[in-house]
């Protein structure tokens, strides 16, 4: 029992409540927002130490013995995901100080941001499948409102698509939970992992696995189910786009990794082959979609889809190296992707548009911003010595070691195409000439640091870029931690024993 496990869920709730009390005082809200994120980060750091030293941590809520009550479980994968979500939360909270306008602040931007984080953290920590459904709903409701907050026409259009498809996927998820309960009579994931292998009708379990694949697949935006993402993620303010693009799809990926390593391992030949095909198609369609668009955030949205393919690929390999690569890829991708979104926000502030064709001259007037973009873009494409290189390297190595040559070749090719899209942004927005009309007066005059307070947006971007370089240069510790996480995933008996006690 480790009481700290409740903190990543309780702290955002507390912060949201406090922020709600001060909803009419923007400056107090902002500080509460940032302070709350720092507190979450500290609690996760303390938890991480416990998990690293003592192994999987468990908290039985209300002191109800598992499998009867709800269990919170912190294994290495949960810790890594919690850590990255706390870091992103802090970054976004700082960025929002400048990016989010007063009206949105007064209509509850900060409380919603924290509720969103509470839902995300809850889904990472819970050890109960129905409870996971509830946390998904918590984060969904918060994300619905964040997406629609402000009521601009584009946002409403995006929100409608997003809301309806996500409601549908939640219902499928709920139906899958009902099927699982009907087959095994349990909802605790560790208990399910014990009981599912004993089910004689393997076909039925595989059917349930496919139901879960569709439910989580819609949330993670995998191949045939991703159309809602590029249609909605570019509509809200950049800070919201960034946290959605960075974190929300990854919650779906986390759920896929968790269920397909812990629960659905009966018919790996069938389920994981499907995952592998999905991974390939997701990578290719995403990157091709990005190649055909000329709006900064739309390109990035399609790249989210493409990158999800890599993570699913690592999961589909179902080897230690593959899972390690997938987890590392998730962490790296959240950083690189969110950073690109944040940079697009700064570029829009300066040039007044997200359309690449109407942008230009950023390199000439803002060389430092160009460097920050290059770091994130090259990390996304997988250049050494940045974080993306190690992520791609471990996935490629995992692919070669089990002789999955075709998918590995696809992965490398998609990496090249990613570079193509990034070059497209670079060529027009940074190297392109300053457009003749439609450029705001402050373009080229407003410095990144100095009057205008633009530095509030630039500092978070610098922090992430620094992290990307740091991970790239000193990848070994993080890779080792990811390896521990992968080992725990491939050996579910440790998880089961931590939750249910020695069998």
């Amino acid at each position: 029992m480790n009481g700290l496990l409740i903190l990543p869920i309780a702290l955002p709730l507390l912060t949201a409540t406090l922020a709600l009390i001060f909803r009419n005082y923007s400056s107090i809200q902002r500080w509460i927002g940032v302070a709350g994120m720092v507190a979450i980060l500290m609690s996760v750091a303390a938890l991480f130490r416990d998990v690293y030293v003592d192994g999987i941590q468990v908290l039985q809520l209300g002191n109800w013995e598992a499998p009867f009550g709800i269990t919170l479980v912190g294994d290495m994968l949960s810790m890594l995901m919690l850590g990255i979500s706390a870091i992103m939360g802090l970054i976004i909270a700082v960025y929002s100080i400048y990016d989010i306008d007063k009206e949105r602040e007064q209509f509850g931007y900060y409380p919603l941001l924290h509720i969103l984080l509470m839902g995300v953290n809850g889904s990472f920590l819970t050890g109960d499948i129905f409870n996971m459904y509830v946390w998904f709903e918590v984060l969904l409701v918060a994300s619905f409102i964040l997406l629609a907050l402000g009521n601009s026409k584009n946002q409403l259009q995006g929100a409608l698509k997003y809301v309806i498809i996500n409601l549908f996927s939640s219902l499928i998820f709920l139906f899958g939970v009902a099927m699982l309960y009907s087959i095994t009579g349990s909802l605790n994931m560790a208990d399910l992992a014990l009981r599912l292998p004993e089910v004689e009708n393997v076909g039925l379990v595989t059917t349930v696995a496919m139901i879960f694949l569709i439910a989580f697949g819609i949330k993670a935006a995998i191949f045939p189910l991703f159309f809602w993402l590029p249609a909605s993620y570019h509509t809200p303010p950049v800070a919201i786009s960034a946290i959605f693009g960075g974190l929300l799809t990854k919650v779906g990926v986390y759920a896929l990794i968790r269920t397909f390593t812990l629960l659905f391992t009966q018919d790996v030949g069938y389920t994981h082959t499907i995952l592998l095909w999905i991974a390939g198609f997701t990578m290719v369609t995403g990157v091709l979609g990005a190649a055909s668009h000329y709006e900064f955030r739309k390109i990035l949205s399609f790249h989210i889809v493409s990158q999800i393919g890599y993570m699913i690929m690592g999961l589909a390999f179902n080897t230690k190296l593959g899972l390690m690569g997938a987890i590392f890829y998730v962490l790296h991708n959240i950083l690189a992707k969110s950073n690109l979104f944040l940079i697009s926000g700064i570029a829009q502030r300066l040039t007044g548009t997200f359309e690449l064709k109407q942008m230009g001259g950023l390199y000439k007037h803002y060389p430092f911003l160009a460097v920050l973009f290059l770091i994130s873009a090259f990390a996304l494409a997988g250049f050494p010595p940045l974080s993306g290189f190690w992520a791609k390297l471990s996935l490629v190595k995992a692919g070669l070691s089990i002789e999955a040559y075709v998918i590995t070749a696809v992965a490398i090719l998609v990496g090249l195409l990613t570079l193509f899209s990034m070059t497209k942004i670079w060529m027009s927005a940074f190297w392109g000439p300053v457009p003749e009309k439609g450029v705001p007066d402050h373009f080229g005059k407003m410095p990144l640091f100095g009057p205008g307070n633009l530095y509030i947006m630039v500092l978070p971007v610098m922090a992430i870029a620094g992290l990307i370089i740091l991970i790239g240069l000193v990848a070994q510790p993080l890779l080792e931690v990811c390896l521990i996480a992968a080992e725990q995933l491939l050996n579910p008996s440790v998880y089961i024993e931590a939750v249910l006690g020695a069998q």
């Binding site: 009902a178 509509t235 303010p237």
Partner: protein, 134 residues
Amino acid sequence: MEALLPVIAGSIFAAGVYLLLKKGLITTIIGIMLISNSVNLALFSLGRVTRENPPLVANGELIPATPFANPLPQALILTAIVIGFGLLAFVLALAYRSYKELGTVDQDTLLKDPEDTSKAIVNVTNDNRGKINR
């Protein structure tokens, strides 16, 4: 009863999918609502329908009188219903707002790709904190 429930749930689900695929926004929402109800029904029947004693502990006893019915599926459904209800309220409000802003409930025109997304967000103003573009 146990044979009838899945048939009902399936029919409602089918009706929901049919409505979901229609053009009007309101029919789509009703479709989602129907699917939500059918899933709740499925949850109910998948949890096994039994006619036993209510799972209440009598005064002075430690466990309810056996055999007692399983209360868990109903607790799950109750949670699901409450969540579904809240979401439905939100979607209806969103639909109303969209109708007000965009002037239509026909999804073909309603969900057409926004032409210029850059205008949704404001430029830098004096104090750098702009108003929302309505």
